[in-house]
Amino acid sequence: MDILLKRKITRGGFFVLICLSFLLLLPKVFAQSATLQQSLTLSPTSNIQSFDKGASSDGTVQVINQGSAAYDFSVYATPYSVSGEDYQQDFSPIPGAINIASWFNFPSATYHINPGQTVAVPYTINVPSTVLSGGYYGVIFAEIQNPQVVNGVTIKDRLGSIFYLTVNGPAVNQGSLLSWDTKPFQKPNLTGYVRVANTGTLHFSASVNATVKDMFGFTKLNFSSVKEVLPQTVRRIPIEWKNTPFMGLYKINGSVTYLGKTSTLGTKYVIVMSQLARYIIGGIAILLVLMLIIHEIAKYRRNKKKKKHGPNKKKKK
C-alpha cells in the first residue's frame, strides 16, 4: 500500500514538474518570437567619387542584418537634391535636370539576408560621355520588403547612401563662411548655427569643430561634424549639445575648415536655462519682491503706529 502511494506521489510530482517546466519555458518561447526584430544597416552612408566623361566604375554597398529576423530587401537609385538652408532632402527627379539614377546599374534588384549576414550589393556607375563637367548627386537605397499585413499598416524601412559624383573638367571651387550665430539666452539643448555658402560648381566638405566650456574653463563638449555643401547653395550647419544641463553659463568657440582654408568661429557666451529653472528663478524673484513689499508695508505701519502713539507716550511722561 505504501509502495503504491509512493509511486502515485512520484508520478504526481513528475507531472507537476513537467507542468512547471512548460510554464517556465512558455513565456521564454513567446518572448523569443516577440523579440524577432528586423534591423537594416547600410554602409557607407556617403560616397565621393570622380569620373572622366564616359568612364565607369564598379563598387559595392554593404547591407548588414543585425536583427533576429531574415528578410528580403530591394536596391535602387534615385536622384538627390536639397532645398532651403536646412537642406531638405529630395529624391525625386527635377524636371529639366539630369536624372543620374539611370547611371546606376545593379545585377539584381532584390536580395535575401539572414540574421547576422552581410550582403555586398554590387553596382556599376556609367557616366555618359555627353554630360557636362561638374557635380552630380544620387542615392542608392536599400529597402526592406515586408509582406503586406492583413489589417493595418505595413512598415517599410529604407536607408540611403548618398553619392557625390564629380565629372572631371573645368570647375569652380568657391565658398565662404557667411555667419556664425548662437542666441545668448537659450533653453536646452544649447545650439548654434554656422552658415556656409558654396558659390562654385562643385560640392565641398565643410568640417565644423566647436568646443563648449563652462564658466570654470572645463570642456563640456567637443563637437565635430563634416557636411557636404552642394553647388550654388547655402548650408546652415547646426552645432548642438545634446542633454545640455538645465542651467549654466557656457563659452563656445571653434573653427570651420573648407576648401583648404580654416575660418575661426569667434567666442560666444550662452546662458542656458530650462523652463523649470526659469520658473524656479522667477518664483524666487517673485517671493523676494513679495517679501520686500511685505517688509515695506510692515515698516510703514510701524512708523504710522509710532507717529500715532508717539505724542501720547510723551504726554504720559
Binding site: 526584430q37 528586423q38 534591423s39 537594416l40 544597416t41 547600410l42 554602409s43 557607407p44 552612408t45 556617403s46 554593404q62 548588414i64 543585425q66 536583427g67 529576423a69 536646412d86 537642406y87 531638405q88 532632402q89 529630395d90 525625386s92 542615392v139 537605397f141 529597402e143 526592406i144 515586408n146 503586406q148 499585413v149 492583413v150 489589417n151 493595418g152 499598416v153 505595413t154 512598415i155 517599410k156 524601412d157 529604407r158 536607408l159 540611403g160 548618398i162 563637437f223 565635430s224 561634424s225 563634416v226 557636411k227 557636404e228 550647419i237 547646426p238 552645432i239 548642438e240
Partner: protein, 197 residues
C-alpha cells in the same frame, strides 16, 4: 688587483645598457591608419495592426510604432516618413477606402475626421499625440493627425546634428470609422527613410 674591480660594475652596466641600445637602434616607427566606415542602422516594428469597432458618431483607435536609428556619421541623420505609394495614401480594402487625414504635419487635423487615418509624432510640427494606445474609443478632441504624404514628397520627422546611438522616434497612428464604413481589412504601407545629412 683592486684597480681592475671597476671592470665588474662596468661589465654589468654594459650588460643592461646594451640591449636597450640595440633595441633603440632597431626601433622604427610605424604609422597605423585605420579607416572606420560610416554606417547607418534602422529598425522598426515592421507592421502595425489597428482594429476599430465603429460607432454611429465614429470610434477611434490609436497605436504606435517606434523607429530606432543609429549612425556613426558625424553629419548626423534625417528620418523621413511617407506612404509607399506614389498615387494614394488611402487605407484600402478592395474597392472601399479610408482616406488620409486632411491635416498636414505643420497643421494637423484635430479632432480627427470620421473615416480617416493619419500619423502623429510628439514634438514635430503642430502635433498633439496620444501617450497610450487605445481601441475603439470616442474620437479624441485632443489628438491631432496628419495624412501620410505620397512617396515623392516625404515629411521630415527628425534631423540630427551629429552621430546617434539607438535614437528613437515614436510614431503614433490613428484611425477612425463610423458605422457607414463597410467592414473589411484595410491596409496601407508606410516607408521610413533614414539617410545621412
Amino acid at each position: 688587483m683592486k684597480k681592475y674591480f671597476f671592470i665588474i660594475p662596468a661589465f654589468f652596466l654594459l650588460l643592461f645598457a646594451l640591449p636597450s641600445t640595440i633595441v633603440s637602434a632597431a626601433t622604427s616607427t610605424t604609422t597605423i591608419n585605420v579607416a572606420v566606415a560610416s554606417v547607418i542602422t534602422i529598425s522598426s516594428g515592421g507592421t502595425l495592426n489597428l482594429s476599430v469597432t465603429p460607432s454611429g458618431s465614429g470610434a477611434q483607435t490609436v497605436g504606435s510604432d517606434t523607429v530606432t536609428i543609429s549612425t556613426n556619421d558625424t553629419a548626423g541623420y534625417t528620418l523621413k516618413i511617407s506612404n509607399s505609394s506614389a498615387s494614394t495614401a488611402n487605407l484600402i480594402s478592395g474597392s472601399n477606402t479610408i482616406s488620409p487625414s486632411a491635416g498636414t504635419q505643420a497643421s494637423p487635423t484635430v479632432p480627427q475626421s470620421v473615416n480617416s487615418w493619419g500619423y502623429c509624432v510628439t514634438g514635430v510640427g503642430g502635433f498633439a499625440c496620444p501617450s497610450v494606445a487605445s481601441s475603439s474609443q470616442a474620437i479624441s478632441n485632443t489628438y491631432s493627425f496628419a495624412g501620410t504624404p505620397l512617396s515623392a514628397s516625404p515629411n521630415t520627422l527628425k534631423a540630427t546634428a551629429t552621430t546617434a546611438t539607438n535614437d528613437t522616434t515614436v510614431v503614433w497612428y490613428g484611425v477612425s470609422a463610423d458605422t457607414t464604413k463597410p467592414s473589411g481589412t484595410y491596409t496601407s504601407t508606410v516607408t521610413y527613410t533614414g539617410i545621412a545629412n
